[in-house]
């Protein structure tokens, strides 16, 4: 670009004009055009400028005059403004730019601002007057933004403003803002006036009275008010609004009202949604509570109580809960009531009700459909058969829902009752459905648990049944679970007749509880039953059992005490593996723990060799006790204390018939409130197994006999007993009375207890005590006095026993029936 322009001489301007320009506050600049070779204006050079202080970069005019625009203001180079100046020069048309934003970098500084620029032709120059309007423009822009924000805010907050002018002529008028128009469903425009009737027509008719009175109150009290009401748009949609009204007062005269009206429909919807959300959360928490309560439930009653508790917390109108479950084998509904408000009388009557009786619960079970009855009148109509109970119970609303198994099968019903009539809204019904799912699961789990319990019980009965046919010894055993609910632990026992008249006895303890433990028990017991038949002695049996136990996962660390009783040889061979020592009592009452033959528990790999069996003398009439640690072990107490306690109770009771002895031992060592024994620290936690073996024989204080359950055995048995009675000084009438009473018991045991199976054994045990003689006659049958077939034809037998001795007890358990007779020895003296 070739600069060809020339400078306008300073003195070319009229001095007065120059002074006049100098007095102007705006910046006035004379800029001369610079043309290229083709004569096109490409730039301007500052010829002159007035005394207005500085330019945008605060440069004094001495620095500016004579320099090019494109050089001084780089952002303008080749830009629109220079082109516009060129047009002014060429056409003579003045230029007005009201707001010219300008931003540039001058001497490394960023400058920016807004300018108003006017340019007119002045010879081959432009006379440019510019004013810095940056402050003004910035404010204006800020205000504009603020206004836009306000409008946006109004729109966002749905807040409209209005003003009612009561003094307007010819009638009161209302001015409404854009947003209020929008709220009222009018096409939004700038604020406009409506007549007051025009604004009233948007108020919901039901709320018009409220709104009118509120405004009157605001005016009469000269105080602002806030009301919520509804607005009806022309298209019929309803909006909820909150209106703030403030009276316009001038010298005590109310001129009108102004205020705001906010559309709160969404807020209300949100509030409802929030309430619903809160409700859902409470519901979810309640369901979680119910679920956890029910998961802990061990009986249906606990489920009913859990649901009742949870519902109380959630909705205190629920008064009663019934959990009704169909019994396994019959069309009977068993009901469990939760909530104390069910009367005992009603509860007792509906505890077991046939499914054929039409009640809410049976209806639900029979139809498999939910039942919702909102009031008592309908209830009475629906269930005419139980009208009286409906009235006496006093429940208005009833809801029943089917309990379903995972398979979908209905197995019961959950019934809820309310004192007040009610409508079942969707939320409540949904809640009930959720609850019933939780309850169904819990109840089904209980069913399975009960099934498992009953399987475990059966298994245990099977495992713990004894079938001893030895006539060389009497065997009785007892198992007692650690807690009543779980009924099966890992303790077991067994007794097996060996072919040559010997008897193998074992007691063991496997780790764990329930079915798994029962399974292991069963395996060990079966294994021991077989090894007992082939083992050379007790230690050999344990070695064989150990080899087996290594392959049974649950048998690890199982313990066992094993003994082979040989009544003929009068010995016991025994060994223990990690197990407490057996106890032996001579026929004279000498008590001794058998500490020999000890080794470590089963199922543990070891190179060590187990101890050989120990053999101990066992005179006829001796007692051998095998037991598990639950009998002697107590928390926080050395084992020895337990052993001492066992020894002590055995010393006091050793010659009792085995059933009584067992009772005495359990009473003193295992049960709460036993009749004897030292005070006990806490309850035993473990389960307990005890096996007692008494070899047939007699001594001064005891007589033990066992014989085949054949009628022909009666007389020999009586003779043996008679001989012993005479030997110990019981004779005459007492002897004869006792013999007849015992004879009757023996006859019963043979005829009823053994039912003609002559391989069964009848056992007779007699103990001489300080005050009395105790006799027990036991068999393996399950008969009961008074039960059909027993004593009906021979009631005289029972009568004789009752008359001849002081006490007669007949007890039946899974091991058989025992008749215990007690004869007071004082009678001998009378």
């Amino acid at each position: 670009m070739n600069e060809t322009g020339h400078r306008l001489p300073q003195d070319g301007l009229d001095e007065r004009f120059r002074r006049a320009l100098d007095s102007i506050l705006d910046l006035v600049v004379v800029e001369r055009a610079i043309r290229d070779d083709d004569g096109r204006i490409v730039d301007f050079v500052i010829e002159w400028m007035n005394n207005a202080p500085v330019d945008v970069a605060r440069r004094p005019r001495e620095e500016l005059i004579g320099r090019r625009i494109s050089e001084l203001y780089p952002a303008l180079a080749g830009g629109e403004l220079i082109a516009s100046y060129a047009r002014v020069v060429e056409t003579g048309e003045p230029l007005v730019v009201p707001v010219m934003p300008y931003e540039d970098v001058i001497d490394g500084q960023t400058v920016s601002g807004y300018y108003t620029v006017q340019a007119t032709r002045f010879e081959d120059s432009v006379l440019v007057a510019s004013r810095d309007i940056t402050t003004l423009e910035t404010s204006r822009r800020e205000l504009e933004i603020a206004l836009r924000e306000l409008e946006a805010a109004q729109r966002l907050s749905r807040l409209g403003t209005w003003r009612i002018d009561l003094t307007a002529k010819p009638s009161a008028s209302a001015t409404v803002s854009t947003e209020l128009q929008r709220i009222c469903g009018l096409p939004p425009g700038p604020s406009r006036e409506l007549d007051v009737d025009g604004i009233d027509r948007f108020v919901h008719p039901d709320d018009l009275d409220l709104v009118t009175r509120a405004h009157q109150r605001a005016m009469s009290a000269r105080h602002p008010i806030v009301i919520e009401h509804r607005v009806v748009r022309d298209d019929g949609t309803v909006r909820h609004v909150r209106t703030y009204s403030e009276p316009l007062v001038d010298d005590d005269a109310v001129l009108g009202l102004w205020g705001t009206t906010q559309d709160i429909s969404d807020t209300i919807a949100n509030r409802d949604a929030l309430d619903a959300e809160h409700g859902r959360r409470v519901t979810a928490e309640m369901l979680a509570d119910v679920a956890s309560a029910l998961n802990a439930a061990r009986a249906p009653q606990e489920i009913a109580d859990g649901v009742a508790r949870a519902m109380r917390g959630f909705n205190d109108e629920v008064m009663a809960i019934a959990l009704a479950v169909v019994e396994p084998d019959q069309p009977v509904l068993q009901s469990y009531f939760g909530g104390a408000s069910v009367s005992g009388e009603l509860a007792a009557r509906y505890m077991r009700a046939p499914l054929s009786v039409d009640t809410p619960a049976s209806r639900v079970v029979n139809t498999g459909r939910p039942l919702l009855v909102g009031d008592r009148v309908t209830q009475r109509d629906e269930f005419p058969a139980i009208r009286a109970d409906i009235d006496s119970a006093g429940y208005e609303a009833v809801a029943g829902l089917p309990l379903r198994r995972a398979s979908g099968e209905v197995f019961g019903a959950l019934v809820l009752a309310w004192r007040q009539p009610r409508e079942f809204d969707r939320a409540l019904v949904a809640l009930l459905h959720d609850i019933v799912v939780v309850v169904s699961r819990a109840a089904e789990r209980l069913e399975l648990l009960e099934l498992e319990r009953s399987v475990a019980r059966s298994l245990q009965l099977g495992l713990l049944a004894l079938d001893v046919r030895s006539t060389g010894a009497i065997v009785r055993a007892r198992y007692r679970a650690a807690d009543e609910a779980m009924e099966i632990g890992g303790d077991w026992y067994d007794a097996v007749d060996l072919a040559d008249g010997r008897l193998a006895v074992a007691v063991g303890d496997v780790v764990g509880r329930g079915l798994p433990a029962a399974t292991v028990m069963g395996q060990l017991r079966a294994a021991l039953g077989i090894t007992a038949l082939t083992a050379s002695d007790a230690a050999d049996a344990i070695r064989m059992l150990d080899r087996y136990a290594l392959h049974v996962p649950g048998a690890h660390c199982a313990t066992v005490a094993f003994a082979i009783v040989d009544p003929d040889a009068q010995t016991v061979s025994y060994a223990t593996a990690g197990h407490p020592p057996p106890l032996v009592v001579s026929p004279r009452g000498d008590v001794e723990f058998l500490h020999g033959g000890r080794s470590w528990p089963l199922g543990i790999e070891s190179k060590r060799v187990r101890a050989p069996a120990d053999v101990h003398r066992l005179e006829p009439g001796s007692l051998l006790l095998l037991y598990t640690d639950g009998l002697v072990e107590r928390r926080g107490e050395p084992m020895q204390v337990g052993f001492d306690r066992l020894e002590s109770v055995v010393r006091r009771n050793w010659n009792l018939p085995l059933r009584r002895l067992k009772q005495a031992i359990f009473g003193a060592l295992a049960d709460v409130g036993g009749e004897s024994g030292p005070p006990r620290k806490g309850l035993t936690r473990d389960d307990i197994a005890l096996v007692a073996v008494r070899t047939a024989g007699a001594d001064d204080l005891l007589f033990a006999d066992a014989f085949r359950a054949a009628r022909s055995e009666q007389a020999p048995a009586r003779r043996r007993l008679r001989a012993w009675l005479e030997r110990v000084g019981v004779d005459g009438e007492t002897r004869d009375a006792l013999l007849l009473a015992v004879g009757e018991a023996i006859a019963n045991a043979i005829d009823h207890g053994s039912r003609g199976d002559e391989t069964q054994v009848v056992k007779v045990e007699v103990a001489r005590r300080d005050r009395d003689i105790l006799v027990s006659v036991s068999d393996t049958g399950q008969w009961q006095p008074g039960v059909e077939g027993y004593f009906t034809g021979r009631g005289r037998g029972h009568l004789l026993m009752q008359a001849l001795v002081d006490d007669v007890h007949i007890d039946t358990d899974h091991q058989g029936t025992i008749v215990t007779l007690r004869l007071d020895r004082q009678r001998e003296l009378v």
Partner: protein, 109 residues
């Protein structure tokens, strides 16, 4: 095995007199009852239980059956266990009980 009982039956004064020695229980009551019934049915039967050491409810049942088909008279020592048993069982009230066989035979019906 020695027999439980010994039964001697004789005709005396128009009556059948049976002497039961030993014990009667469910193992032999049936046999004793059958024997006596075969011979004494419809007749006066004097049962001498003074040497009976043992008679249980099965024996009493046997006596009760005989009582229904014979003119049964029982001779016993009331202090004995058999006497006590018959008293307890209420049987002594159902039949005529005598101290001696002669009294039993002679007593009117």
């Amino acid at each position: 095995v020695s027999p439980l009982h010994e039964l001697q039956v004789v005709e005396e004064g128009g009556a059948l007199v049976a002497h039961v020695d030993g014990e009667v229980d469910s193992s032999n009551a049936g046999e004793v009852g059958r024997t006596l019934r075969e011979r004494a049915e419809g007749r006066r039967l004097v049962l001498d239980l003074r040497d009976t050491e043992y008679l249980d409810s099965a024996g009493i049942a046997m006596l009760d059956a005989l009582r229904r088909v014979t003119d049964l008279r029982v001779v016993l020592t009331t202090q004995s266990i058999v006497g006590r048993a018959l008293m307890i069982a209420g049987f002594a009230q159902l039949v005529s009980v005598f101290d001696t066989v002669d009294q039993a035979i002679a007593a009117p019906k």
